[in-house]
Amino acid sequence: MIKDLQSLIGAENVRSDSVALSAYSHDATPLFNGLPEVIVTPQSTSDVVKIVKYAAQTKTPIIPRGAGSNLCAATVPLKGGIVLSLTSMNKVLEVNKAEMLAVVQPGVTNLELDQLVEKENLRFVPDPGSRNVSTIGGNVATSAGGLRGLKYGTTKNYILGLEAVLGTGEVVRTGGRLVKDVAGYDVTRLLVGSEGTLAVFTEITVALVPRPTDSKYGVAYFDDLAAAAACVDSIISSGVLPSTLEFLDNTCLVAVEEFANLGLDIKAGALLLFGDDGEGDVVAQTVEKMAEIAKKASGIRGVTLAQDVAAAEALLYARRCSLPALARLGTLSILEDIAVPRPAMAAVVKRIEAIGEKHHLRIGTFGHAGDGNLHPTIVINKDDAEEVVKAEKALKEIFALAIEFNGTITGEHGVGSAKLPFLEKKVGKANMDLQRSIKSVFDPANILNPNRLGS
């Protein structure tokens, strides 16, 4: 196989030494690992086509991979196969201000793209916590969210068109450059979030928005997370739709402060980071209004507004670092990603706390409160077998909790291998069957990221 691949795309783009194989045996998901048989780095769409055709003939699994920052074991080669690393296809092909779009290859990182379009006063909206490393290809394949979901939506709202290689090696173009285009099924939308199981994206057309001129952020401290959640409810029912409403519980708050030294009130039970962006006065008014609501909320301890952009950036950065900062507390952190209808959030966070107490586990919860998206994170000692078992039990209970409240088992991180066993509970049998049928149309040889979505 190695020789064949080398002759197809050049020896320099094929690696199979034990060092390389070992390095690609992981992504950012704990507890999952497996060795691939080969790593290929295509330089063009035609390279991808050659590899996919070869894999289809030989029935070899292909695992498309961006930066490997996903948290659902979507890129761990559990059954060998070819890791298709798309990080070399990392050119921005076009930034078009008049059409407010950019055309990129999949390996460009989220932050690189946003920094580039900033020069045109534009913005690429989706901003996952991992934006400095994760790729646009990966973002599309997971429909990544971020800190701006409430007002602006997530990756799925910003993808206009795709060039994609199907499991047969055929190249399709979906969508295009238009905001309005209903010519046929919305295949673009189907491919967004397909986790590398339906097609490999080789070119992506993204929608951009004007870069807001102003932004303002503040923090409110509460006695507990439920109080912060209730405050989020009051803010939104007052008719304000801000870009950012993020919260952290005390465990996260302490960990983040330890890393970032921002002078946060580590005695508080919870922190709510609120903010908005847009034009001048409007932003100031929205943020003022949120601050006023917070001041009157029950369980409030204090409200402060970030003095300048640097202070606001520091707060956002600290929020993005919640997970790694939490990880300092133990040797293994298992992060969850449930989402529930916003009004249920206060009740749900209480129940999560109760689950932690019941199993004597340390659970730190942070999340995109505006989106009802919670990241309860269980921090344990990986060598403590008993604790690992308890953590698994707690996880199941948390999933059941989400479903009980009409929520979902994953809001933005995806299914991958980590949540596949729980998927049917969420979507039902008929839906599972439909997904399998869809998969078989796009990838009849079942080579694209097999044993994950659509299996």
Partner: protein
Amino acid sequence: MSEKFSQDKLDRCISCGYCLPACPTYQLTGAEESSPRGRITLMRAVQSGTLEPENLLAESGFCLGCRACEPVCPAGVEYGVLLEEAREILWQGKNQPLIIRGLFLIVGNKLGMKLLGLLSPMAKERKSNPELHLMLGCFERRLYPDVSKAAAKLAPEVSVCKEQGCCGALHAHNGELEKGKEMARQLGEQLSGTIITTAGGCAAHLSSVIGRDRVKEFSEYWSTKDSSVSKVQINGRTIRVGLQDSCHLRNGMGVTQEPREILKQLGEYVEIPNAGGCCGAAGSYSLLQKRNSRKVVSQKVNDIKALNLDYVATVNPGCTRQLVTELRRAKVKTKVIHLAELVAMGTK
């Protein structure tokens, strides 16, 4: 299998990948195994026995040891320590690079250090404040004696003792961690009180062993003194000057503002793009990995050229050597000078 790496340090990494964009070797190759996260994955595989230690040789050599991956890591992974451990495991016996063996021979004993000193006229012995000592460095004595002379002249309160060993950074970074630590401890005993050094690399190693509070890098020390300098002139105009950070000073000790503030007083300060990025000198790297070292520095040479600077100031002798060599090769006129020498020019 016996424990090779500090397990708690390996456990810290959550494979989030935040460090990838900061890593110069990942930038060059785009390969996971040449990234901090990938190297930690490899170390883990060695630790658990799924990968033979020899497999780490190439990557432990390719890694610059610049530690740019540390300040960007929210999980607080001490990559520098892990790399030292890797090299200690690997660079033994036949795997110890010949050049390293030679260098160790010179700096590892008194005679060698004396010879290095004898060959060049560095700062004179003197007893000033017994609780303040100037460190003379090992190769710095030989290559850039003017640096310690300048520092000694600028800070008359500092004692200079010629009977001093090497701090052991070279050993620690190249597979002799314990010896490197021992050398630092000895130096800490030879020179009492605060040790002032003109080499960022030495400062970081020394402080990691004898304590942060006992070590001051020159710019850090100078910033605490209340001395004024005037603008340095060339042909009747103020100089244009940029800075090349020392990786270990920046990433290991967090010193970034001090040298910049001093340079702003000495001339028109221009920030070189990616000034904090490694210049490829990386201790013995420029000797051991010549080609990669030149790949790492090439963009920097272009950036410096484009800025039309009079001087690039350095805070570590290895960087001086690398930039002098590479700027000359590229026929760039900008001069490379140690910060202390430039301060001396501004205090005449």
